[in-house]
Symmetry: C2
Subunit: 698 residues, 2 copies
């Protein structure tokens, strides 16, 4: 989208402007004028000569000049003709607020398609349809029918729900929250959320990008762009429809997505901060827009009472942050300057009779202390408490210490009203409970850690790519989607996985000899390109302990299986080493339709089945991401070993995940793949990929 | 505490009343007068003849009559003499607001002890010291130095933190939240939280009891009383100091408790609703004070926009509540009366152009629908939205449907201000986000389920109590705290636990013969009253498969153990059936210093060690509570079985827990006890208590 004509147009045409109050075309024109827009305004309506004191034009070309921006509010069926007019006139940017397009299905979808085609052919960029429009407070541009312009501010907001945007505006207006840009993206016929996010990323007025989404147009592009932008500006997203019921409501609302699990991975990888309510989104945004990021998780708390300081300390602990340990210097300063009854430590209780000066001493000592990463200032209004003066102390300290974040939570009502206004104007975010402030600190600390993470380096292993190409090509040529064990093993080996030792035998004696070379116990598996599910036909026999058992098993398979599967060519029997006394884990991958391959790690057997203890992440994986996947499982400690049981080689599992990640990244033809079990031993041993299931895209 | 003299005194003496603004004695007197108290007020101060227009008395006895209530604000060292005066005059009820007692440690503790003694001997009931006092809005009684009287209301509030109470008052005053009683309990030298809760339970003005606690004076009494009261009135508690850091702050603040895990069980058993912030406490209280309890978890949502309705649906799903399925009748009604573009289902989107009448139709259809347990009404202010009229529709519907709860979440700022005021005055609780409303509904539904639970019936098993008495008496007499395996087995059997079959052998041949009778494999264990930890001395040998192995193991023990433990009398070797191929679980109990025995259930071995997958509950257990403990573990599904593995006898485990619960309830001498492993088999089999560790109180 062109930021110039959308956010700072020199002239705006309102097509479908109306004199009738309550009509969208009226509200937009009135809003533009009321907002104090200083460019030219051209009302367009064939039935009026003048509207709101401005000359009115029968159509766009009658204006006699090309408006930078056209806002279209005519009925849906008339929209294509208006866009044709825009094309003829070479208008660059259009907002279609009219509803009645894709969101009503059937004919609406066709109409939207037609409009999009006309616009695309003419090179016109379109916001909407079915949107509220947009607002740019610093340019006094209210090209919307949402509400009055909010105060200018640091937050750039976009929303896929007009209803929600209207509510947010009303809320923000009464709480004094300001915005740089507000964009209602509607049906996204042309401009989608990603273009808006990119525009806000480049916008110097925007410090924090926030938005509400129901679906994402292009998953991989979103991931790439969001990851890059999050390094510079925080992105706060509400994404609805992630649970079953919400997904159902969302899908019929704007045709949104079914599988939501992948979003968590996408947001995590891209550093996007996910919010579950408007309130928390603005709680986080206010801090991110005004405060620096904390260098670490160590929180200092100042309060003028025991109860509130304990509550804050509890909240810090519950959140996984840390209560900072004050260093000797800070302790000495506090002990020297505070009354002897104030117990010097963190949380710091400056006592109920504290005036603003005592807060000043405590706050400055905390800010100077190198073991403190962030300070939370709490206040409850006692009889003598100087609420406003204390707020001013906090604001001044924040100004003088621009490198360390300060958040405030004054608890009360009327008595703290003016104080919280002082905090707001001074750029110190204020929260109505310590829990909310602490949650915000946690989000800030996590985002800071994300920003500080080392560059992602995906290791490329040297592999035999050609071999896998051959296997996949042959399967696709023959229209076979599932790759069987024989060739699955070849694929695994081509990508550096060790598989159980084994060879094919064509007689019982040969099988027994091979077993002797491999070492007992062994497994026998029927070897046929036509039998994929060997167990089901009696084609697998485990735990054979001596030559006699091997020969018996061989003969039984040769006798029984041809009767069960007469059409199968049987090439012999695979004699394979039996892997025991190792930890079983599962490595897997499945291709998400929006975000590409999603990697899966799970503890073997019971842990996956019963506990559903699995972790996901997006391919391609770095070594660190692979290890983080292991750490995310609840049963991670099983891998570390414990008294009487040696731990397993964690790095070897991570490497397995990375190799699998490389395989599915290099072969988009692979739809799903599991290595199960992947048997891992103590450090230094090579894990064995015992079995693999590979499913190709049809 | 005497409700008459504390909550509705006919006369109040203010001892230590002062003319100096800022002094506590001044604030209390001024507050009483400003609040409009209609009884007699007696200022007491030897240095004034008149205060605030009232005659002032040099001491209590000079008043010439006995005040119902004395509020004491003299310096700490002068308090004992004042209480002596109260005793002489037979004043019944006293509030000591003065600080400088137990909370400052050392001499303060002694002073508090002295005051408590004087009061107890004279039969005087004391609130405080170190408290803010109390407030009763309906009686215009402000016997505190906290703030001005709040509005009368349904919430009875008490707080152990004066600082927090002051903040709550200020907040409530500006949000129009009313109170029936407000009690600052301070150091609890005499009256504790339980007496206050009991007084509020009896108070007809109080519909909801809420409070903030840092410790609990008498755990078992609290549990008993709270459980009884919760059946009639909801109790909402903030209990701080539950996490490590909070506990540390709390412990030096008012000497509070270390182990907090038990509180969760206590609150659950007693139906107490635990809150983690002031905000959520009042969010819940407002709904519980104004709305009926929901009959079930099925929520209907009405909104005038897709985004908000999806957000609410997501919140319902995330919370574990259900989205109600509308019945045919409701669906037909809605389809007939709403515009065709409004899609009839739950969440119900009445569309952005909905006026109040459309809400009326939707809300009444939902309220009439028997599959709906609770309705959440959302609104975002669009251009034509009738915010106030819609609020009135909701209020009217709530009045006409007193049996089904309605909550509202209007999202916005100025445009919804008047509407939310209409809701508040109409007794419909309003929430600034659907998430908060849904969380409140969840709390209501859980509390309703608690209230509807069947009476608790603890089954008493027929046991051999005498046998256990003998074992315990002998150990206590001998000063031995740990009961060894021999007698542990006797204790288990006395309480109906099956133990492995086995007998003691004194020769290798006898051992081999016994093993043959029991059936191989067997376990051999050295049999000596002096050896508690058999494995450590080589006194346990498992998995013996034939007579030869049994004889070898016997002889090795006889040869080696006397060398290692020369002082032990060795009576022989226990030959025991070896229990295999069953599921191992752990039953345990530990005595909490405040709440008595806490029962523990855990999955055996890895699950307990690695996953810390254990569940706790208070003894004595009912059958249902025992089963709930199993259900609470994350690995419960392991017990249910799965393809290829039969489930185990759940009831048998529950019975084991109940028997253990009976044992520790009947023997307070038992400090800790584990049955580990407790081996359980398929339904119908008897579980075996393989080993037990019993620790007596020293």
């Amino acid at each position: 989208m062109d930021c110039h004509t959308f956010f700072d147009p020199q002239s705006v045409a309102v097509v479908g402007a109306s004199r009738h109050k309550g009509k969208v075309g009226h509200e937009i024109l009135a809003g533009l004028i009321r907002g104090g827009y200083e460019g030219k305004i051209f009302p367009v309506n064939p039935n009026a000569a003048e509207l709101a004191g401005l000359p009115c034009y029968p159509d766009l070309k009658s204006i006699g000049q090309v408006p930078d921006l056209a806002v279209v509010a005519v009925p849906a069926r008339a929209v294509p003709a208006v866009i044709e007019d825009c094309a003829a006139l070479e208008v660059q940017s259009v907002i279609i607020v009219t509803a009645g397009f894709r969101e009503i299905g059937g004919p609406g979808e066709d109409l939207e398609g037609a409009v999009a085609r006309i616009a695309r052919n003419a090179g016109i960029r379109v916001l909407g349809p079915n949107c509220l429009g947009l607002m740019v407070p610093t340019n006094k541009l209210n090209a919307s029918f949402a509400a009055d312009l909010p105060a200018p501010g640091d937050i750039g907001y976009f929303s896929q729900s007009g209803s929600l945007l209207a509510a947010i505006l009303d809320m923000a207006n009464s709480e004094g929250i300001g915005f740089s840009k507000l964009v209602s993206i509607g049906n996204k016929a042309d401009i989608d959320e990603l273009e808006v996010i990119e525009a806000l990323a480049e916008d110097p007025e925007t410090r924090v990008i926030a938005g509400y989404l129901e679906n994402i147009a292009d998953g991989e592009a979103f991931l790439r762009a969001a990851e890059e932008i999050s390094r510079r500006k925080p992105i706060l997203l509400m994404k609805s429809g992630e649970t079953g019921a919400g997904a159902e409501a969302a899908s019929s609302h704007t045709g949104a997505l079914a599988r939501e699990a992948a979003f968590e991975c996408v947001f995590e990888r891209a550093g996007v901060i996910r919010c579950h309510s408007v309130k928390t989104q603005f709680d986080f945004a206010r801090a991110l827009a005004t405060q620096p990021l904390p260098a670490g998780p160590r929180v200092a708390v100042i309060a003028n009472g025991g109860g509130p300081s304990i509550m804050a300390a509890d909240a810090v602990e519950r959140s996984g942050l840390e209560l900072a340990e004050l260093d000797d210097d800070a302790t000495a300063k506090l002990a020297a300057r505070l009354p002897p009854t104030a117990c010097v430590r963190n949380p710091m209780d400056v006592l109920g009779d504290a005036l603003a000066d005592r807060y000043d001493v405590a706050l400055r000592a905390m800010l100077d202390c190198p073991t403190v990463d962030v300070v939370l200032v709490m206040l409850t209004p006692h009889a003598m408490t100087q609420c406003v003066e204390t707020a001013q102390v906090v604001v001044d300290a924040a100004k003088e210490n621009p490198g360390k974040p300060i958040l405030a939570s004054f608890i009360g009502g009327r008595r703290i009203e003016r104080a919280t206004e002082v905090l707001r104007q001074g750029g110190v975010p204020h929260y109505d409970s310590p829990e909310t402030a602490v949650l915000t600190i946690k989000i800030m600390a996590e985002y800071a850690r994300w920003r500080a993470r080392p560059p992602r380096v995906v290791k490329l292993f040297s592999v035999n790519r050609r071999k896998v190409e051959q296997v996949i090509e042959r399967h696709l040529r023959q229209g076979v989607a599932e790759i069987g064990e024989m060739e699955g093993k070849a694929v695994l080996e081509a990508y550096g996985f060790a598989t159980p030792r084994g060879s094919v035998a064509t007689s019982g004696e040969q099988a027994a000899n091979l077993a002797g070379q491999i070492g007992f116990p062994v497994v026998l598996k029927i070897w046929s390109p036509h039998i994929l599910h060997k167990s089901e036909v009696g084609g697998v026999k485990c735990g054979l302990n001596n030559p006699r058992e091997v020969m018996d098993a061989f003969d039984l398979m040769m006798y029984r299986i041809p009767k069960r599967v007469p059409q199968a060519d049987i090439l012999g029997v695979l004699v394979e080493e039996m892997i025991t006394s190792r930890q079983e884990v599962v490595l897997g991958t499945t291709r998400d339709p929006r975000f590409g391959p999603l990697m899966m790690f799970g503890m073997g057997d019971v842990m996956v089945e019963v506990l559903r203890d699995v972790a996901f992440y997006l391919a391609p994986l770095t070594a660190d991401e692979a290890k983080q996947m292991l750490l995310k499982t609840r049963t991670y400690r099983l891998l570390q070993g414990r008294p009487g049981q040696e731990g397993v080689d964690i790095d070897a599992i991570a490497e397995g995940l990375q190799r699998l990640s490389q395989l599915v990244t290099e072969f988009p033809e692979i739809q799903e793949m599991d290595i199960n079990p992947f048997m891992v031993g103590p450090e230094g041993t090579t894990p064995i990929a015992v079995d693999a299931r590979i499913l190709l895209k049809r």
